[in-house]
Amino acid sequence: MTTKNLFHRAGHLCIVLLLMLAGSCKQSEVVVAEAQKDISGDWRISKAVRNGIDITTLADFSQFRIHFTADNKYSLENPLPFVVSKDGSYSLDDPAYPFRLTFTPTGDSAVSTTFNYPVVNGARTIVFSFSPGCSSNTYLYTLQRVQP
């Protein structure tokens, strides 16, 4: 890569803020290509929150596993209240921006859920928000990949 090329790319990455006369702000961003997300593997619950209260230490969440395969299957082990309760297939609406995940339990209709995919302590985590019982009760599970 030449020096000229580097400058050219840096220019593209500039974020330009235009302060409008009316007092509003307009922001234009340069889209940076994301790496493809790969959620395949075993995941366990590292944090469980119910209605805003951390309940991780109040029950045994350590045995729950969800296994995502590279060919879009998932399976549950030692189930707990979750988005789905039966094994099946999954799909990410856009592998590059996988913030919506669709579970299709075998023999059941699909359940679509949004999730976050933040990096915590250098490792990817998946944060699911869902209401498996009463809609007034919301749960937030943070899943961590189980190191093989």
Binding site: R50, L58, P81, G133
Partner: protein, 314 residues
């Protein structure tokens, strides 16, 4: 002699009785009548206000949802208004706090969720010695939306005497407490102030596919488990198709863990805890707290009846 006579001035009030319904429907207005007497036997008073108070769940916001009127035999009729929070009783506390300190909450439990609602006459009155009057106070208030039961309580006093005990506790103010009063046909499981809340379940509304936290509070009332270290849940679950699922062994899976304060609690997923089959749903659970041997059982209100939790959503 003169000094004694001045000291002996007292405006005596008597709370002869209170008419109230035994129960009321949630969200509806209901009427309470306090039958009072004033007997100024040994000295007059000026700039006097009559003060009444009643107990209510804080969730009712009763001070804002109550109208109080009174009739007298010689002083005409009038209305009463909430005593401003800045007005102190002679104990140095404002009236609701002073009444809570003096009388408590009349044998109710979860006292922090109840309050004394205090009204006084809008006008001040001069009541010379020898005045005898009958004063009926009519309280129209609105029951809150929740299913509730609590023991009602009433207070009668005057602004001049406050909670003075100079003449003995029975002269210048009166209190009266009644049995459990019920608010029915409302929202949610019963909020029970009448019985000690040894157990509490969070969330208040849930299905069998939620995580339930069932807690045991050893400080509410002394029970056979008060000195027991390890406490277990002994529970039965009822399915919508008429099956009863039992989970009553003292194991690691049924043991309560440390919770807030001195409380212990078990957090469980009912479908997993009771091994509910696919296609079955739970309608309610009944439970006790037990020791490791299962020989000690503590139930609802520290009785032999189980606690009940009904699954439902709003």
């Amino acid at each position: 002699m003169l000094l004694l006579a001045v000291l002996a001035i007292a405006g005596c009030v008597f709370l002869d009785g209170v008419d109230q319904p035994a129960s009321v429907k949630a969200g509806e207005d209901f009427t309470i009548v306090m039958h009072n007497r004033l007997d100024v036997a040994d000295g007059g008073r000026s700039n006097e206000r009559l003060i009444i108070a009643f107990l209510a769940p804080k969730s009712w916001a009763a001070a804002a949802h109550t109208s109080v009127t009174f009739t007298t035999t010689t002083y005409g009729n009038g209305k009463m208004v909430p005593v401003p929070a800045t007005v102190l009783a002679n104990t140095g506390l404002n009236w609701p706090a002073a009444l809570k300190t003096r009388f408590g909450m009349g044998g109710n439990y979860m006292v922090d969720d109840l309050e004394w609602v205090v009204f006084w006459t809008e006008q001040t009155y001069n009541v010379p010695q020898g005045v005898k009057d009958k004063i009926d106070v009519t309280i129209v208030t609105t029951a809150g939306p929740e299913n509730t039961q609590f023991k009602t309580g009433y207070f009668l006093g005057t602004s001049s005497e406050g909670l003075s005990d100079l003449f003995g506790t029975n002269n210048v103010y009166k209190s009266l407490f009644k049995d459990c009063f019920q608010v029915t046909d409302g929202e949610g499981d019963l909020i029970d102030f009448c019985n000690p809340q040894i157990a509490a379940v969070t969330p208040g509304q849930a299905t069998d596919n939620d995580m339930l936290t069932i807690s045991f509070d050893p400080d509410v009332v002394s029970t056979a488990l008060s000195t027991v270290g390890s406490i277990y849940l002994c529970a039965k679950a009822y399915t919508s198709d008429g099956q009863v699922l039992d989970a009553c062994a003292s194991t690691a899976a049924t043991q309560l863990l440390a919770y807030t304060g001195n409380k212990s609690a078990i957090t469980l997923w009912p479908r997993g805890f009771f091994h509910v089959a696919d296609g079955q749903t739970l309608t309610k659970i009944e439970y006790y707290f037990t020791d490791a041997t299962g020989s000690i059982k503590v139930g609802y209100g520290n009785t032999a009846s189980p606690f009940v939790y009904t699954f439902k959503c709003q």
